[in-house]
Symmetry: C2
Subunit: 282 residues, 2 copies
């Protein structure tokens, strides 16, 4: 595995790979890797000639109350995990490499942002689409991999690529789950034993909520999820059902949806979602 | 010359050319070609393996008062001129090809826009950087050519490419001039005989204004240009001196500048500029 730290070298190598006709798979991350990231790498390795991972904690996507400085970092461990998983090129630029001067042009997410987790993070997705635009330009991937765990991010990135016609295919990757259904997350370790036992209720209630939505509509579905989650030791941040990937209030014309929840436990806030389709008119 | 009208074909051909290691030169235009455009093509042909020209009247960069529908178009003549000049691929997409759905992500020019011609065209450069981002993604040029006649646009595009690290080199091309110094423009035909005789004063006064700026500072320089232009039958829209390409009020640290003017004649508004440098401390 080669570690690249400069924009100049990353550009040169990507350009050479394109000339050789190599298929480049790309997994952008903020580091502190866990199984979710590695499942993205696995998929890329199985489909691409070269897998590039970036590790870049992007200051643009942190709000004033969110602590960019304290975001967990462990580059040594990340390098080992990336190499083991089959990453060929690890791109780890400093902030001043990607943003050498005050930018005169930025990228703005104008929809899909004001709902779910985005509702409480104004500007967050502008930072995400700006850094991804830069990384796509530097890495020139044919495919880029995003976890469905953060389904809103995947939806915003889908919009980025379609709106600006990036020559890259976005590949959504299923959420990795524990045997009892709980979505894997580095935050799960902060759950108490009791919380950990109850947490699979989130996913179970979302799955049954999806079924109820199809048969009975939005209100009974959301009520069901809220009731299930209220019975455990977590505080509901939101439960919502939206069209996917547009993330709008569903209409009769929509056929694909997301049901999503965020739940605050004592030391951890967990998110999960189910994306589902209606095949025929109800 | 091959004419391409779909996004799909343009993407495919660009991707194939990159794999062949071809150097792609790109001249984006809104059509109604004149000598200025053709000088960009000449430069591209001399430096690139393949020259791509786009003709696309971009609705996003027209303001409410500006008439997108009435922008002059002459595709037949443009095709002949492009082919004669040596264009290999002419990309002429419909509006619905580039903007098939309401975009969920756009590109925003956050500086270099509120001065010169941009001052009276809010949102114009957001439209320019958005469509150029799309075109760069579809055409994948190694180099893209922009006339210095529209020096503000060249500055904004320079900022676009640097801020978002597009893998494309922006090549500014000198303004093509008549023998008496008047910048060539399709609008020159709207000048009366008397106006046409006087119009070279704009360029002359900007050149001497640049010298006066270096020796005496900003106020005497602008006064000089205003005085010269006021003596002819044109109404001054603006005269300004700014750092280049940042387009800020010059400070002692700046070394490169633009002096620019816009002048309204009866039937035509002309713009011109001179870009100049201070080599040593005054």
């Amino acid at each position: 595995m080669k570690v690249i730290t400069t924009v100049k070298e990353m550009k040169q190598i990507a350009s050479d790979l394109k000339k050789q006709g190599k298929i480049i798979g790309f997994v952008p991350t903020m580091g502190f890797l866990h199984e979710g990231h590695l499942s993205l790498v696995n998929k890329s390795v199985s489909e691409s000639d070269i897998t590039v991972m970036s590790i870049f904690v992007n200051p643009l996507q942190f709000g004033p109350g969110e602590d960019f400085e304290r975001y967990p970092r462990d580059m040594k461990r990340d390098q080992l995990l990336a190499e083991e998983a089959g990453v060929d090129l690890l791109f780890t630029p400093e902030v001043t490499e990607l943003y050498p001067v005050e930018p005169s042009v930025t990228v703005k997410a104008v929809s899909r942002t004001e709902v779910l987790c985005g509702a409480s993070r104004p500007g967050h997705f502008d930072g995400v689409v700006t850094v991804l635009s830069i990384l796509f330009h530097l890495v020139q991937p044919d495919k880029s991999y995003f976890g469905q765990k953060d389904a809103q991010q995947a939806a915003v990135v889908d919009g980025l690529v379609k709106s600006l016609h990036f020559p890259v295919e976005i590949i959504p990757v299923h959420t990795v789950r524990e045997e009892d259904g709980l979505a894997k997350s580095s935050r799960n370790v902060y759950l108490s034993d009791e919380e950990r036992q109850e947490a699979p209720v989130i996913y179970q209630s979302l799955k049954s909520g999806a079924d109820i939505y199809i048969s009975h509509g939005i209100e009974p579905a959301i009520e069901h999820v809220e009731k299930q989650i209220s019975a455990i030791n977590g505080e509901i941040d939101y439960v919502d059902i939206l069209s996917y990937p547009e993330l709008k209030v569903p209409t009769h014309e929509d056929r694909r949806f997301i049901i999503a929840a965020a739940v605050k436990f004592k030391q951890a806030r967990l998110i999960d979602n189910v994306i589902f389709s209606i095949k025929e008119e109800i």
